[in-house]
């Protein structure tokens, strides 16, 4: 018996998946969720084997929800139309169902998942890549979703002061202190707008709109002073990049 959760904000969209699931007694529907917050909670609580996930949902979308979960379960996406999402699926998803879909197509997706289960394929690495591709969509690149204890926080990118590398995490510094996100610096460098966020140092990415001045610091190095008074190290290479973006 495998545990299944459906996450979709439209009640009818959930009911059609529920209907199609009846043909699969080996899949047990644990619960349904109407948004990503509920989804995160339910996944942590029930540890499902498979989820059916919509992309466009209130507050946080399906990809952002997955980013918040330490070890995301296997996912079959259900979505109407989103070119970025489809690009991401094509490369990395187990399967995706384009709405509207019929029982036959649904069965095929389930069979595909079962097959991968038996082959014991490593699907979590694929999920990472999927999220990387999806996070380049315009709806996602203007904000960052983080988990703060049990709370979920959505940070608009213009509120970010700077990012700092911290082992396997990245510290996102804002007005309200910092938040941790389980991503790499190069991920953020790729996803954030390069005209606004500059990798000023191996361990730092700074929001140029926050910089008030750049002072020399020791030999060959500089330091960027932010509006909030915070200081961000600038390496020699980083100084060149900053100058290019600021048009100096």
């Amino acid at each position: 018996m495998s545990k299944v959760i459906i996450i979709d904000d439209e009640p009818l969209a959930r009911s059609i998946v529920k209907e199609y699931l009846q043909k699969h007694p080996e899949l047990e529907l644990i619960t349904e969720c109407g948004d990503g917050f509920e989804g995160v909670k339910a996944i942590q609580q029930h540890q499902p084997d498979l989820i059916f996930l919509d992309i466009q949902m209130p507050k946080i979308n399906g990809f952002e929800m997955l980013e918040l979960i330490e070890q995301p379960p296997n996912v079959i996406f259900t979505t109407a139309f989103d070119e970025y999402a489809i690009k991401a699926f094509e490369a990395h998803a187990i399967d995706y169902l384009l709405k509207p879909f019929n029982q036959e197509r649904f069965d095929k997706a389930v069979a595909k998942w079962m097959e991968q289960q038996q082959n014991n394929a490593n699907t979590s690495a694929k999920t990472e890549e999927l999220l990387d591709t999806a996070s380049q969509s315009p709806s996602q690149s203007n904000r960052v979703v983080v988990k703060n204890g049990s709370k979920i926080k959505i940070i608009p990118v213009h509120d970010i002061f700077y990012l700092e590398a911290a082992d396997d995490y990245v510290k996102i510094h804002t007005q309200e202190g910092y938040f941790l996100k389980n991503k790499t610096m190069s991920h953020f460098e790729q996803v954030l707008d390069a005209q606004q966020f500059v990798r000023s140092h191996r361990s730092y990415i700074v929001n140029v709109q926050q910089i008030t001045r750049i002072d020399p610091y020791e030999k060959d190095n500089h330091v960027a002073i932010l509006r909030s008074g915070l200081k961000v190290p600038v390496s020699r290479g980083g100084y060149g990049k900053l100058k290019a973006v600021l048009g100096l």
Binding site: D9, L12, K59
Partner: protein, 326 residues
């Protein structure tokens, strides 16, 4: 021509000589003028090429002079003393011919230049109109796919459990789509018509989102006969629904109201939002931008769409100027 003849006659030349002289000189001049007109018609010289034009006039004048001298000599040398008179008057004749030719050439150039300009302006405005139509068409097309596929998915779900409702929704969706296809972007419709169309859209969205969506429509009865560009309200409401439903959790109230003002129709749409998470950029979604663009193209005004965010409510106020009876 008559002037030419009278002048000769007043110089004591016989009438028939005066007439023949005048006829020959002027018909020749006329032919050369026609030649010039035809040349500038197909080859319109730039105004800057004054020297070329001047040279052309000089050459043509000389040509005219030689021709008319030869012909006049041939026809009228039998008159006593005419040969001497002809030689003496050559300078006067040539300068008059030169002046006439010059004026005709200038008029020709100006006329054909003007014609050319008029044609290119017509072309330009045609092209602009085409581009505008295409742009408006594109703006509408981009709004559809998400809505369409999700609605079909809802119908698919209803077929199994509530076939009657599925049938009703198919009907509503068809009527809605027919409305989209039938109406031209440039067409003006009454608010009443537009509201009927909007109700179809809201019914479909209510089925999709269930209890989460509560639209409240308040119509000023006076405004029902006011006019607005077709299909303007639906993207506005679509934007409010998207913004409202995807930025908040729980029930979403969308308020739509209309007010008839003097020479204006005002439509106000509001939706809840979460000030903590929505960046200002999200405030002007694609739907809003397209409405703004359409109104700008129609009225050449940028102040017709006003947005305001206050107390977790995002309000869009659209003013539609009423064209005096057209």
């Amino acid at each position: 021509m008559a002037d030419h003849a009278i002048l000769l006659w007043s110089l004591d030349w016989p009438v028939e000589l005066a007439v023949i002289d005048s006829l020959i000189s002027n018909i020749l001049l006329l032919l050369i003028c026609l030649l010039v007109m035809n040349t500038v018609r197909y080859y319109v010289p730039e105004f800057t090429q004054y020297l070329n034009i001047l040279c052309m006039c000089v050459v043509l004048t000389i040509l005219w002079l030689l021709l008319s001298k030869w012909l006049l000599g041939l026809a009228l040398n039998s008159y006593e003393g005419y040969a001497i008179f002809l030689r003496r008057s050559l300078m006067v004749r040539s300068s008059i011919a030169f002046l006439i030719l010059g004026i005709v050439t200038m008029i020709g150039i100006i006329w054909f230049n003007w014609q050319d300009q008029k044609r290119s302006e017509e072309r330009k405005s045609d092209a602009e109109k085409l581009a505008r139509d295409a742009e408006l068409f594109k703006l509408r097309q981009q709004l559809q796919p998400h809505f369409l596929f999700n609605s079909l998915n809802s119908i698919n779900a209803l077929i199994g459990s509530r076939p009657e409702e599925a049938r009703k929704m198919v009907q509503q969706l068809s009527d809605f789509l027919r409305g989209t296809i039938k109406k031209e972007e440039t067409q003006w419709v009454s608010l009443q018509e537009e509201i009927q169309y909007l109700e179809l859209y809201l019914e479909i969205e209510k089925v999709r989102f269930g209890n989460r969506l509560t639209p409240i429509v308040t119509i000023d009865p006076l405004s029902l006969s006011r006019k607005l560009p077709a299909l303007l309200l639906q993207p506005l409401v679509e934007n409010a629904i998207k913004f409202g439903l995807y930025d908040t959790i729980g029930e979403t109230v969308i308020r739509i109201s209309t007010v008839a003002k003097e020479n204006e129709l005002e439509v106000i749409v509001s939706n809840p939002f979460d000030p903590e998470t929505s960046s200002p950029r999200q405030g002007t979604g694609f739907g809003l931008k397209s409405v703004q663009r359409r109104l700008y193209l129609l009225f050449d005004r940028n102040d017709l769409v006003i947005t305001e965010a206050k107390d977790n409510i995002f309000t869009t106020r659209v003013t539609i100027p009423q064209l005096s009876e057209a």
